[in-house]
């Protein structure tokens, strides 16, 4: 099978292109009375060549959304496409290959294999696939991320920021259709965090990549082109060309709106990792700021 990734040429990404798409994406945990909906019939399109941030309070389902879009998790209902490939219904083996060949990953921590040096970590997905890396592209990525003199170092010899840069390089190395970054700055100090966000920005602007970043940091979200706000398993809002202040403002409203349910405001209001059962009231109160596209979060065009 010739994957769309092979046909996809960076820099020529049409803004019309959709890198990933979900329709009616639902993820439920448990069954019967105790069913918890982590994602409640989410429709979302991730535009190609853009930097999309997914924000929401803890337990809003943002990580679950990412896992489902990336083929790491199975869905309870709905469909997910990566490019033209519907990934819902793919077998485990095909999903593994899809992740390997067409998606790049950055996690909050433990991003690198400790026994491999930076260069080996960067090319790992291609090595696993038994493919040769595109040397020119690889050089460009390495230079962009300033890792040239760190290639022989093991992760334990690198700082947290350097480790995330290596993870970023790995995500970029195979020129995937989509890069998922799950709280990539969560474990970094602010300077190193800014650096990593800068690189992700650069990956989109200069290398033509598509990035989806899950974060709860408004400052990080401000680096994106578009912020999707998730609450209680639904996309409740979106914001183009966000600023940190605007995002923060928007997030504050979640706290206020959630306070009556949880009894206390704040990030940890919802029980860890569990989405609040699909309450109709909460999303309704989070009034969309940009013209009522609540659940059909089609991003606007550049």
């Amino acid at each position: 099978m010739s994957t769309p990734a092979a046909q996809y040429v960076p820099g020529q990404a049409s803004a019309d292109g959709i890198a990933a798409r979900a329709r009616g994406l639902t993820k439920a945990y448990g069954s019967g009375e105790t069913t918890v909906l982590a994602l409640d019939s989410v429709d979302v399109d991730i535009a190609r060549g853009r930097f999309t941030a997914v924000m929401g309070p803890s337990g809003s389902g943002k990580s679950t959304l990412m896992h489902c879009l990336a083929g790491l998790d199975t869905v309870s209902a709905g469909q997910v496409w990566l490019g033209d490939t519907e990934i819902t219904g793919l077998k485990e083996r095909e999903l593994t290959r899809l992740r390997r060949d067409r998606i790049g990953f950055m996690f909050q921590s433990f991003n690198l294999i400790p026994t491999l040096n930076a260069a080996e970590n960067i090319t790992l997905p291609m090595d696993i696939a038994g493919k040769k890396a595109d040397e020119k592209w690889l050089d460009q990525v390495i230079d962009t991320l300033g890792l040239r003199d760190r290639l022989g170092h093991r992760p334990s010899q690198l700082s947290g920021g350097q480790q995330q840069r290596v993870a970023c390089a790995r995500a970029l190395a195979s020129r995937p259709e989509l890069i998922f970054a799950d709280e990539p700055t969560g474990n970094l100090d602010s300077r190193a965090g800014l650096e990593v966000l800068g690189f992700l920005r650069e990956a989109v602007d200069q290398l033509g990549q598509t990035v989806v970043m899950v974060t709860h940091d408004p400052g990080a979200a401000a680096h994106s082109d578009l912020v999707l706000f998730l609450a209680d398993g639904r996309i409740v809002d979106e914001m183009e060309r966000p600023t940190a202040e605007a995002v923060l403002e928007r997030m504050k409203r979640f706290d206020v709106s959630r306070a009556p349910f949880d009894g206390a405001p704040g990030e940890e209001a919802a029980p860890g990792g569990q989405a609040v059962p699909g309450e109709e009231a909460a999303p309704a109160e989070g009034t969309p700021r940009d013209g009522g596209i609540a659940s059909d979060g089609t991003p606007g065009k550049d």
Partner: protein, 855 residues
């Protein structure tokens, strides 16, 4: 604190299971071997005690037989009448019993046991002490009737009325089976043929007035000791051996004792291996458990538990494991003993499992070994646990063992290794067997210890090489598995050590046996010049009529007889050496090639002459022309003159110190009644070898106890004897592998758990399950092969040293069984694959999301 310990013990029971298995195995072997040998010795004690008469009078045995000579020592049967007249004697009977007869059925097949146990011919004198009773037919009367024991009869389908041929020292004769005798006690495995007393004397001893012993019964109120004293006083204390029932039973048990001891020591050897290898497994498990629980232990410390409490909690856990393991091991040991008893029964020994003896020493040994081993093995990890700082609770869990330097290990390993190497060098350069052997033992123990200590230091260099091709062969999967094996050298070293210990022994012993085989082959090639050798495969002598039959075979040219006899020589330096001498017919040169330092075969075999090994002669101040008094069985001494000195690499084997031999005529003059042990036969001119062989085989058809062998067959016979040693090696290997597999499984399972997040990450970025399994399998293989390579390297060094000790015994050839070595390395890779099955499955089943979300 105890409650916390118990909880932790139960929480980790899965992990501890493998350690417990190691304890169970060790204890099972210890307990099993003790129960088995106790049962065996109790059985035989009881048998011999119940069958021994109050006092036994037997001929004085002045020399111990190293190699069977075929002589049967006798005393006059009339002595029984003299003894009967002694005050206090109720009854005295002359017995005629020989241990080395062959009984064949009408198809010329032996009815005796196939296990090497003897066929005993004896007189039928049923009394309350007899181990058998007549269960069918009637007692034998006259020269042509016999009883057979029921087990032999059943085994070979012999029925009353059948005719058997008895091949005894004086000659063959036919008997009709008139009855079947059944053991009322345990049968030690022998076959029994009963004749009436005059027939036994005449046909088995060849002398109607001879007996092999006198059984004396005491009159009422006379103790065995009193009786012995009175009988000895009456017939002359110095001329015969006198034994009370107890002494006789003990002497019988001692005779069997060699065999019992061998079984016991082999079993204890297995137990030793199991204990040794088990220790590594336990140390490793506890180290890893503690590494995993660093946070928990830190928390305990932060909450106020002091070091001693933490240490005690770990040791309590070990104690529990030891107790549980010992209890299960004891039970398994009982099962093992029962299995061994069943096995012995299939070999013809009749021991009832219900008579199993479990002495108080067995459970004591079981618990001492089980709890002791666990406790000792857990002590170091416990100390390390106590060293966990309260800060560990707060910090990220660090994988213990990575950071700590290996300097202490390097120093201790180097010192112990140097001592061991020195001992081995000493062994190689030693010139006396005894000192070489003890240096060898010391060197083996020290080098093993050094390798175990320094093992982790060798992990990096060796695995770099072993796994060097992995990245090229298996890409990044190979690279990661190689580096994973290098990740925690301590753990890899300890895991591999289990396999190493077993394979080092295998390596050493296989080199030793290969060298022995090669030495014997060379010796046979060099010395054997006969077309055919006729011999019993257990080297038992055969009667003269067989020799006559061979001589009369058409096509047989020269026939040279060879016999063995126990002798004691008084040498010029004053030493009295008890050994076995050989005796040959004069034309020895035509069937054997002997290298002489001085003199030749005629000079060696001439009347009144003796030949000996040059080095032996030099050590004892003997020269050609020296006269040495040679004492034969029964006390007769003849003065022989040294006629020749040989320059053989070896005496004919073991127990024949000095390589003494003389003419067969000389032996017959001093000690008649011996039997031939081997016949060397050359074809007559005009007869081809094949014709001669066919003719000889026809001649020997009625004598199934001997076989015709040419050079190749003869070598094979020797190889088969050495192969027994090899079977033991393979059994050791099997046990070592079982335990080593447990160890590798253990390590990998824990590593998989530790690397949950890493595995999750790999799966997330696209590592297929198959690739993940391969990664773990390769790691396992590299660990196993590392253990094998280390073990075999050590074993080869030992093998070189063992060979040097053997060389002092004349076995100078050195051979390395490369096919075995290669097979072991390949086998260890297979072991790695097998050990990785479960951990790999577990890793590949791991939920990717749970693994990456694992915080």
């Amino acid at each position: 604190m105890l409650k916390a310990t118990l909880r932790s013990f139960l929480a980790h029971k899965g992990r501890l299971l493998l350690s417990a298995l190691a304890v169970v195995l060790s204890v099972a072997f210890v307990a099993g071997s003790l129960i088995f040998s106790d049962t065996l010795s109790r059985t035989f004690d009881r048998l011999f005690a119940s069958t021994a008469p109050d006092v036994t009078v037997s001929p004085k045995e002045t020399l111990k037989e190293g190699v069977p000579s075929g002589m049967t020592a006798t005393l006059p049967a009339a002595l029984a009448e003299r003894v009967a007249r002694v005050d206090g004697v109720a009854d005295a009977r002359a017995d005629a019993e020989v241990q080395n007869i062959t009984v064949v059925d009408s198809d010329n097949e032996s009815v005796g046991p196939t296990t090497g146990a003897p066929t005993i011919g004896t007189d039928w004198s049923p009394d309350q002490r007899s181990p058998v009773e007549l269960t069918s037919g009637h007692a034998p009367r006259g020269p042509a009737e016999a009883l057979l024991d029921s087990e032999s009869a059943d085994r070979k389908h012999v029925r009353i009325g059948d005719t058997l041929t008895v091949i005894a020292g004086p000659g063959s004769f036919k008997v009709r089976v008139v009855g079947i005798a059944t053991f009322t006690t345990t049968n030690p495995g022998a076959a029994l043929l009963f004749l009436d007393t005059p027939t036994a004397q005449q046909k088995l001893l060849g002398n109607p007035r001879a007996a092999t012993s006198i059984s004396v019964d005491a009159a009422e109120g006379v103790s065995d000791a009193q009786l012995k004293q009175r009988v000895a006083a009456a017939v002359g204390a110095n001329r015969y051996e006198f034994r009370t029932a107890d002494e006789q039973a003990k002497s019988d048990v001692d005779q069997l004792g060699g065999f019992l001891d061998v079984i016991k020591y082999v079993m204890l050897g297995f137990a030793g291996i199991a204990v040794l290898v088990g220790v590594f497994l336990i140390v490793n498990t506890f180290s890893m458990l503690i590494a995993q629980r660093t946070r928990e232990l830190g928390l305990l410390r932060a909450l106020g538990a002091d070091r001693r409490q933490v240490r005690r909690s770990v040791l309590t856990e070990a104690l529990l494991l030891g107790l549980v393991g010992s209890t299960l091991g004891l039970a398994t040991g009982i099962g093992l003993a029962a299995g061994l008893i069943t096995l012995m029964n299939t070999f013809g020994m009749n021991i009832k499992s219900s008579e199993m003896v479990i002495g108080w020493g067995t459970p004591v040994a079981a618990y001492v070994v089980g709890v002791g081993v666990t406790f000792v093995a857990a002590y170091l990890p416990a100390r390390r646990a106590a060293g966990v700082s309260p800060m560990a609770a707060l910090a990220d869990a660090e994988i213990a063992g990575i950071g700590r330097p290996l300097r202490t290990r390097a120093i201790v390993g180097a010192v112990v290794g140097a001592l061991g190497a020195a001992a081995l060098v000493g062994c190689v350069t030693a010139s006396r067997t005894a000192s070489a052997a003890s240096l060898l033992g010391l060197g083996v123990v020290l080098t093993l210890l050094a390798t175990v200590i320094a093992g982790p230091l060798l992990v990096r260099p060796v695995i770099r090489v072993l796994g060097g091709a992995f990245p090229a062969l298996f890409g990044s999967v190979g690279r990661m598995s190689q580096r994973n094996a290098l990740r925690n050298p301590r753990r890899t070293g300890a895991t591999a050590a289990a396999l190493m210990v077993g394979l080092a022994l295998v390596g050493g012993m296989s080199v030793a046996s290969a060298s022995m085989t090669k030495s014997f082959d060379q010796q046979i090639d060099r010395t054997l010049g006969a077309d055919y050798v006729i011999q019993n495969s257990n080297f038992l002598p055969f009667p003269e009529e067989l020799t006559d039959a061979v001589r009369d075979t058409p096509g047989a040219g020269l026939v040279v007889r060879s016999r063995f006899t126990p002798v004691a020589v008084r040498l010029p330096d004053g030493d009295r050496v008890e050994t076995t001498a050989a005796a040959y017919d004069p034309r020895l040169d035509e069937v054997a090639h002997i290298t002489y330092a001085q003199g030749d075969t005629p000079a060696a075999l001439a009347a009144g002459r003796i030949a000996m090994d040059r080095d032996f002669a030099r050590d004892h101040g003997a020269r050609v022309g020296s006269t040495v008094p040679v004492e034969f069985q029964g006390g007769r001494t003849t003065r022989l003159t040294v006629g020749a000195l040989t320059d053989q690499d070896s005496a004919e084997g073991f127990g024949t110190e000095g390589g003494l031999y003389f003419g067969l005529a000389t032996l017959e003059k001093s000690a008649p009644a011996g039997q031939d042990s081997a016949l060397y036969v050359n074809a007559a001119s005009g007869t081809s070898d094949d014709e001669l062989r066919t003719a000889l085989e026809r001649t020997l058809d009625p004598y199934p106890q001997v076989q015709v062998r040419d050079l190749a067959d003869y070598k094979k016979l020797v190889h088969d004897q050495i192969a027994v040693l090899l079977y033991l090696v393979y059994a050791l290997l099997g046990l070592a592998i079982v335990i080593a597999v447990l160890g590798v499984v253990n390590t990998l399972a824990l590593s998989v758990v530790e690397r949950t997040r890493e595995i999750g990450l790999l799966r997330a970025i696209g590592l297929a399950r198959r690739q993940l399994r391969r990664m773990i399998r390769l790691e396992s293989v590299v660990i196993a092969v590392f253990g094998a390579v280390l073990g075999l390297a050590l074993g080869l060094v030992w093998g070189v040293c063992i060979q040097q000790v053997l060389a002092l015994q004349g076995l100078t050839a050195f051979a390395v069984p490369w096919t075995t070595i290669v097979a072991v390395v390949v086998g260890s890779a297979v072991v790695g694959v097998v050990a990785a099955l479960l951990p790999a499955l577990r890793a590949s089943r791991m939920n990717v999301l749970a693994a990456i979300a694992h915080e």
